[in-house]
Structures are given as structure tokens and as C-alpha cells.
Point group: C2
Chain length 191, copies 2
Amino acid sequence: MSGLRERKKVKTREAILREAFRLFREHGYSATTVEQIAEAAEVSRATFFRYFPTKEDLVTLDRFLPLVEALKAQPPGAAPVSALRGAFRTAFAGLSAEEITAGHAREVFAATVPELVAANLRKSPGLIREVAEILADRTGCPPDDSRIQNVIGASFGVVAMAWLRWARDSAVDGPAEIDRSLAHLESGLTL
Amino acid sequence: MSGLRERKKVKTREAILREAFRLFREHGYSATTVEQIAEAAEVSRATFFRYFPTKEDLVTLDRFLPLVEALKAQPPGAAPVSALRGAFRTAFAGLSAEEITAGHAREVFAATVPELVAANLRKSPGLIREVAEILADRTGCPPDDSRIQNVIGASFGVVAMAWLRWARDSAVDGPAEIDRSLAHLESGLTL
DNA sequence: TATTTTATGAGACTACAGTATCAGTTGCGT
DNA sequence: ACGCAACTGATACTGTAGTCTCATAAAATA
């Protein structure tokens, strides 16, 4: 039952996000204060914090759930790097072009602003462990096996670099770039 | 000419660092305030900031210069990953066991506390670019070639994971773990 | 329409990082 | 011994994130 209240809340939430990202784009993340965001979104500071407990929460949402799900669904035969590659593929395939470009702005900050990198990193041990467990299941290794961790480290390493290229230049096709990078890793990083 | 003044300054600096890390160990990085550190080191808050412009500066020093130098000195024939592996080897070989264990405490924080990871990351684009240029020189690729970046991403990815294992468990032989991880990457991440 | 529940705004408050000022002290060269 | 330069402490100040309280307004419910 989406009453008026619910709809208003959604609108407020969207206004805050929209104005926040506009200000971030114009002045940068840390140079934008919560007060400015609240003012631009026409809510009080208190209300801002009711919607987003911290400023970081504007940018660090759980974006990797689809990836984890996709990874679980990969065919069992594939090698770990291939499975990760496939997971990224299907995770991106589940998004519309609009969602991808909309998400891109957010990712630019998440990948670029150190505070936000930190915020995301704070959540990353959980992601790494989860991925490690899935890959461990698939291969029969224990999840703390250093080979598994090397696969994860190397994969996320190349993905991060591709992600940065994407963040720096929105003309880059992020998903394709990520796929190519993982393919490169898959084939042994040949030159 | 190490006059009394110089020596005092060194002692003060050491006291600040020592007390800071003791408090970090006991209560964590962000739960430790500059005031507490200053008090423990028996200096004023103002003096603390004279020695370390920001709290982060306690932990984020330029630790990768030796690595870059070592990378430049690698034999020209080696593949990029091998060159990086060799560079880590020689960079660690240049440190005494005491230096390594002393540095370990710092690394634990630098690798574990998100704010510090971020602070280090803030300096990392320069490092990445530098490494990219060196590797590009060695291989003839342009430095922004995505293959070069993949090599860097993958290498630093596995190194980061090894580093984390080291940070979590000081019994781990960090340098050896890093070497093994890069060797694993070198040989195609075989399981 | 009357009552209850919930969102909001206003504003005071805390905590902490980092800055600025200024006076007092201490080592240093003469 | 003396005066200078550097180091220090005390202290007040700024900016910003995040908390708390309470009164008001607006939506839901009966």
C-alpha cells in the first residue's frame, strides 16, 4: 500500500541523493557539507541524517550482491578466474544501460575519493570472504588457501584498474573493459 | 652535528610514534585521539601537530621508494610480473630483520584500518603511474596500455592479499608470502 | 471529524581534527 | 654570560560530522 507517506519518503530520498551528487560533481565530495546537501534538497540537517546515517552512506551501498549471486550461479566446471569473469558478465547483463550510466557517477566517487574508498574497503572483508567461500566450494580448496586468495586478489586487482579507467573516462565501456581485463588475466597476462 | 636539540627532537618524535602505536594497538586507530597520544607522549597537542601535520601521517610514510628503485634495477629480459617479483625480493632484502618486524606493526594498521588504507591510496596513483612507466619502458608498450595496467593490478592485488595475511598474523613470513604469491601469479594462477 | 502515529524542523550539544596566537623556556653561538 | 633563534605549552578558535530533544505539522485511522 504505497500511501502518500511512502511516496513522499521516496521523493525525499531521491532529492537528497540527486542534490548530493550534483554538489559532489560541482565541488567534490569532502568540500560538500551535509548542511549544503540538506539545504539543496530542502530538508533539515536532522532529516538528512534520518535518511542517511552518515554522509558516506550516500555513496557506499551494497553494490556487490548481484555479483555474489551471479558467482554462485556460474557453471561448476569453470576455473576460478573464468567463473569470476562470468559473474561480472551476468551481473552487468542484469542492469539496464540507464542503470549502468546512472551508477557510473556514483562509482566515480566510490573509486576516486579516498574517504569513500575507505568506506567501501570497510565492507570489503565480508565480500572477499564470501567470494573466497564460493570459490573454495567450487574448487575443493579451503577458503583461506592462499591460491584462492591470489585468484581473488589478482582478479579484483585487474577489475579495480579497469574500474579506475572507467571512472576517469566515462566514454570507456566499463563492463567490456572489465571483461577484457579478466580475459587477459585468464590467459596468463600475456603480452 | 647532532646537538642536544636534534637528539631531543628525535626522542620526542620517537615517543610520539611509540605511544601512538601502543594506543592504536590497545584501542584502535580511530578510537585514539590526538589528545591521548600527546598526553601519553608528554607533549602538548600543539607539539604533536608540529611533528605530524595530520594524524594519518603517523602511519602513512613513503614506503615504496625502495621498491621503485629495485624495479628499475631488474634485469631487462624478465617478464613484467617477474620483474615486480624480483623488485619486491630485493626491496625486502635491503631491510634488516629488525626493520621488517618494526615495520610490521605499522603495516598492520596501514593495511587494516580503512582510513589509513585510504590515506595510502591517496598516494598510490603516483606509485601506479611510476610503476607503469617503468614496466612500459621495459616492454615497449605505452604506460596506459591496459595490459600493463592489468599486470600491475593483478600483482598488487595478490601482494595486497598476502600483505593482509601478514597483517592478520605476524607469524606469517610476509616477504616470503609475497614472493610465493607473485610466483603463483607468474605461473598463471594454477590450482 | 477526532485521535493517534509518524515525519519533520529548529536548534542546542558533543567530539574531534586541525589552526592560530602568544608568551615562556631552553639550547646554541658568540 | 648574553642575546638570538628555535622549540614548546596554553588556550582559544574554527569547521564539520553526528546526536538529542522537543514542539509542530501532516498523514493515517477510526
